[in-house]
Assembly symmetry: C2
Homo-oligomer: 217 residues x 2
DNA sequence: GTTTAAATCAAACGATTGTTTAATTATTTT
DNA sequence: AAAATAATTAAACAATCGTTTGATTTAAAC
């Protein structure tokens, strides 16, 4: 798992927040350190003073948002020995919560929208030294999600549960990085509403439950 | 719909193919025209001679790949008056084909992998003058897909069919832009195999059919 | 074969890039 | 209060950026 960085404070944090937002919108090469310095109200040299290089600032911004929007619920659930996976109702509730956590952390106003956007941008264009952060963020969460899905219905194969896990992660991610197109298609302005997000949670949950043959009705 | 460009020939096409691949990997700001010229074995000035600017070259590359990987099947199906949507088997086959077309065009070796990567990158980071291409590519295909889903089961609401359409588009897109992470998680090397892609097609189709209450068994 | 247009080229343009320097100011430590 | 460390600054660094120029070569048109 990703480790917390004690230096996410003061001027360093300010720079991370300002630069991260710019990086999320335009990529590391689309932003100049002068633009970052100007919007942060610091001298250009401060970036190298605090982070050593522009690249390090990007890496730190990524590590920061990856930590912020992480979804450790699946791991917690796996360690909870009081869970009875033979109870259909409990399994349904677990899956609903897992999907809900990711939707809230990625799509709601709990965090600024650029947090998840920077994270997903780094997936399609992993800058140097960022692969570790990406993989340490996604792989453990993915594996834990797969594990939970398998426990909820042991009759399903590993291959199937992996597909379902990607269905969950993929669809939610799509609402992040295709946001402009989606809002145009749905005629939505500004942010996703909580009502829309709970509908989305219901939709994905229902989809997965039917796939797992857990849906009652 | 997007229009074909008669200038996708000769040196112009060579430049588009070379530059597009670089753009897909590193973004418009991550590639220099000198790098493009070198890998295309042309003079630096040729880029401005043929396209006017680097930005125009990006736009043309995007228009080119958007045309190549477009999925017009849904529109064709809508215009086919011989289709009987009360036939469950026919509806299942249509949905399977729709999903299959997108998977083939986005993920198989039918086209170079960077085609779809450039398209999706442009979704999260739309360069100037590219919004039109993006929207003309995705929105009509999305709307057609929604329309087909509604005809297959008129009992479903528009809102639900939109969610399902995004489930299809989102999950397939995820396999494009999260490719490095997915291959690490699944321990896959090189390209997705056709076997894997047909499993994926089966998985998504099954998911949607269950959601539409069309799945027999 | 002559003329026109298209294509290619090396070279240079001004602007901007990330980074570094060295001096100065602020803050903390002793 | 003196010394030492941390933080901030303006200025300059070499390198690279996208673009343009003007000359040269190639191809097409008459």
């Amino acid at each position: 798992m990703l480790e917390i960085n004690p230096d996410w404070t003061g001027k360093r944090l300010e720079l991370i927040e300002t630069a991260g937002q710019l990086f999320a919108n335009s990529g590391i090469d689309g932003v100049s350190i002068r633009e970052i310095a100007e919007k942060s109200n610091v001298n250009i040299a401060s970036i190298n003073y605090y982070f050593g290089s522009k690249e390090n600032l990007y890496t730190e911004s990524l590590r920061y948002v990856a930590w912020q929007v992480r979804c450790p619920l699946a791991q917690k659930i796996l360690q909870d020995e009081s869970i009875d996976y033979s109870s259909k109702e409990q399994c349904i509730e677990i899956i609903r919560k897992l999907i809900g956590e990711r939707i809230q952390n990625y799509l709601s106003d709990k965090y600024p929208a650029w947090y998840s956007r920077l994270l997903l941008r780094s997936l399609i264009e992993p800058p140097p030294k960022c692969e570790d952060i990406i993989f340490q963020t996604f792989i453990p969460e993915f594996n834990a999600l797969v594990e939970v899905l398998m426990r909820c219905n042991p009759a399903n194969t590993l291959a199937k549960c992996r597909f379902w896990a990607f269905s969950i992660l993929g669809e939610i991610s799509f609402y992040v990085f295709a946001e402009p197109g989606i809002k145009l298609a749905l005629n939505i302005a500004e942010k996703y509403t909580q009502k829309f997000l709970s509908q989305l949670q219901e939709h994905i949950t229902s989809l997965i439950l039917k796939g797992l043959d857990l849906k009652e009705e």
